[in-house]
Symmetry: none
């Protein structure tokens, strides 16, 4: 039985309140042989108490050995097998910069490029123009209109942008126009399914207009389109878990993925601190069964390779934690979506330290603090990240038993 | 997504060099309550250092509770789910005695038996004649020729032999001729698929000739044929992992399985010691991305029930280990294909002690030595043997991340 069939069958529509606190890229590695990881080095009295009282373990985001991107890693935390449910690249890029993608919309990634007078690509990335220069070209493209279609288009970064088409009968089964080489013209858009024929005609029109308007805007005088994708129609939290769920996150991508699984997006601002985010959680706490709260900067400092700065981010989360605990959550899960060891400067495959605290239902183990090596000895063992939601629901007394 | 689809998608064509050192039947059990296992009893300062610095864990060859044969156990270590990829018995037997099995060949196991004047079997194992007596009968059978077919036939052990047919249009979908009882004649060969009709006719001819030539060679005056199988067409290391892989092993069966997954076979001799094998590894090290090195005698001494002798084999491996470490491998995996506790005198299902050492990417855990009880506390936890290759590739930085 697929996981969600089991969840739909067993979930109750009442029970405890669950807080899922995700520190992005939480897991780390020792800086030197025999030394502590970032999480082990951090002074975290509040997290240590939760680990000491509750259950610890290590979650495996995808499969052993595979480092995940943030999209699939969060899907897994939310209980969606990322090898089964893939969010199309266009949808990830669009949600990642804050564009809404709704059922029926087609989301697309775009690259500015340089073409010669014959339309052949001479630079696939338009000389890697700055984000500011990219944004200027987007203003030129915003004027393009298509019959019966609303278009949202925004710069992502440098030569990259995202676009969402909204209208009746659109279909995203369309091949990339990027030929992945220079010296040839972009491919014309091509339907991978006859259902996309109409959308292909619209995209062709759009490209003709784009070519006209970008003329003279060298080096970004044309663009290619990739990753055509539709809203993936993921099962929703209310359906599979019977949870009214809210998301407190600052970065658009995490908000986007949360929205795709049916969470309400709580208003935040781009410069919110951890304390600000926790205050948002407190503000809406009474309205929700489940709150996902996302902290980005553990991952950012890991990618920077800045061990000490990552330690500081973790310590900041610990310091602000009393704001969350004052809400008296029934279940608290603290984890990461993947590891980003500062020594590795990238997402890695290492299992992610996880604590589950639920007085009255949690098993206390021998973990005395929150850290990778203590988690190895934890009551949760090593487990697929997709098992976290069933565990959280169980500890919240939201799952009935299976069979008589 | 099947494991190999994921690997094909994520593997890079460059990265660190991987050494997979397999001590056959490595896992053991304490000889007396409270005592050490073979591996724990062995003095292994070199292995202990790798375990102390790197990650330890326990691998589960097939599923919990199931003791594997050497064929499926190695397939699992190589990343092939042994419940999905089965190597036919004829192919295992043939490769096990050093016969080559190539695509299109049909491999067969044979048993000498005794038949009466009416052709009815009176002894299915021909009085369990000695290997020497068996080999004499094989000489008699080597003369048989079939139109358009090359035949390789060799004694395996006592009354058992293996045969490989090579030629155009052969097919191995043929039922056993062994009736599994005495008092009846062997079954005539029978096609399980019309595509095997031609091969059945050839096998029938061969059996008529075999009967004629074995007459008078009592008690082995006839034979039955079983386990008809073709080269299994396994995905190859170069394809699924982008690895140029070599095998250093002495026993034909391990060489055979390695060949079936696309490894190059490095020349060895039947009486090579552990040190000789490691010297072979050193000799070819520069030419490969991945070397599998197989040590047989841990298993042999376990099957003998000789605890102390198995300890000595392990100590010999440890003593020779500096030869391998001098190559500066990026990733070293030391494990077994299964457990063969001396107290059990047979392959067992117990999870297999495993260490993974990869400075720069490994998580150090609290295992201080290489042994079963330390592995329980290791960073790798207990994991399916098929996860070992993805882990090794990840630690060699040969996997890109999954999704954005």
């Amino acid at each position: 039985m697929a996981n969600f069939d089991l969840m739909r069958r067993l979930t109750l529509d009442k029970g405890g309140k669950i807080l899922l606190l995700v520190m992005d890229g939480l897991g780390g590695l020792p800086r030197e042989q025999g030394g502590p990881t970032e999480l082990e080095a951090a002074h975290t009295p509040n997290l240590d108490r939760l680990a000491r009282e509750g259950s610890s373990g290590l979650s495996i985001p995808i499969v052993r050995g595979v480092a995940p991107g943030s999209g699939p890693a969060h899907l897994a935390l939310f209980g969606y097998d990322p090898l089964v449910y893939e969010i199309g690249r266009g949808v990830l890029e669009a949600t990642g910069i804050g564009l809404e993608v709704n059922p029926g919309d087609v989301a697309i990634r775009g690259n500015f490029c340089t073409v010669d007078d014959d339309g052949r690509i001479t630079d696939r990335r338009a000389g890697r123009i700055s984000t500011e220069e990219g944004a200027k070209r987007i203003e030129v493209l915003k004027d393009i209109s298509l019959p019966g279609v609303d278009i949202d288009i925004e710069i992502a970064k440098e030569y990259r942008f995202a676009m969402v088409l909204r209208g009746e009968g659109l279909n995203g089964a369309i091949a990339d126009t990027d030929p992945q080489q220079t010296g040839v013209a972009p491919f014309p858009p091509r339907a991978l399914d006859p259902a996309a024929d109409k959308t292909v005609e619209l995209v062709k029109q759009w490209l003709v207009e784009a070519r006209k308007r970008l003329k003279g805007h060298e080096p970004a005088n044309m663009c290619t389109l990739r990753g055509f994708a539709m809203e993936p129609g993921l099962p929703k939290y209310a359906d599979v878990y019977k949870l009214k769920a809210g998301c407190v996150a600052v970065y658009p991508m995490y908000r986007g993925v949360s929205r795709l699984v049916g969470m309400d997006l709580i208003e935040t601002t781009a410069h919110d601190t951890t304390q600000d985010e926790f205050d948002h959680v407190a503000r809406v706490w009474d309205d929700y069964d489940f709150i996902f709260c996302h902290i980005k900067y553990t991952d950012s400092r890991g990618e920077d390779g800045d061990f000490d700065a990552k330690v500081k981010v973790i310590e900041g989360v610990d310091e602000a934690l009393p704001t969350l605990m004052a809400m008296n959550p029934d279940v608290v899960v603290v984890t990461g979506d993947h590891s980003t060891p500062a020594t590795y400067k990238a997402h890695s495959w290492h299992p992610v330290p996880t604590l589950l605290w639920a007085p009255g239902t949690h098993m206390t183990d021998r973990a005395e603090t929150f850290g990778e090596r203590e988690c190895i000895m934890g009551a949760l063992g090593q487990f697929p990240a997709t098992d976290l939601m069933p565990l959280a629901l169980a500890h919240a007394r939201r799952l009935t038993k299976f069979g008589a």
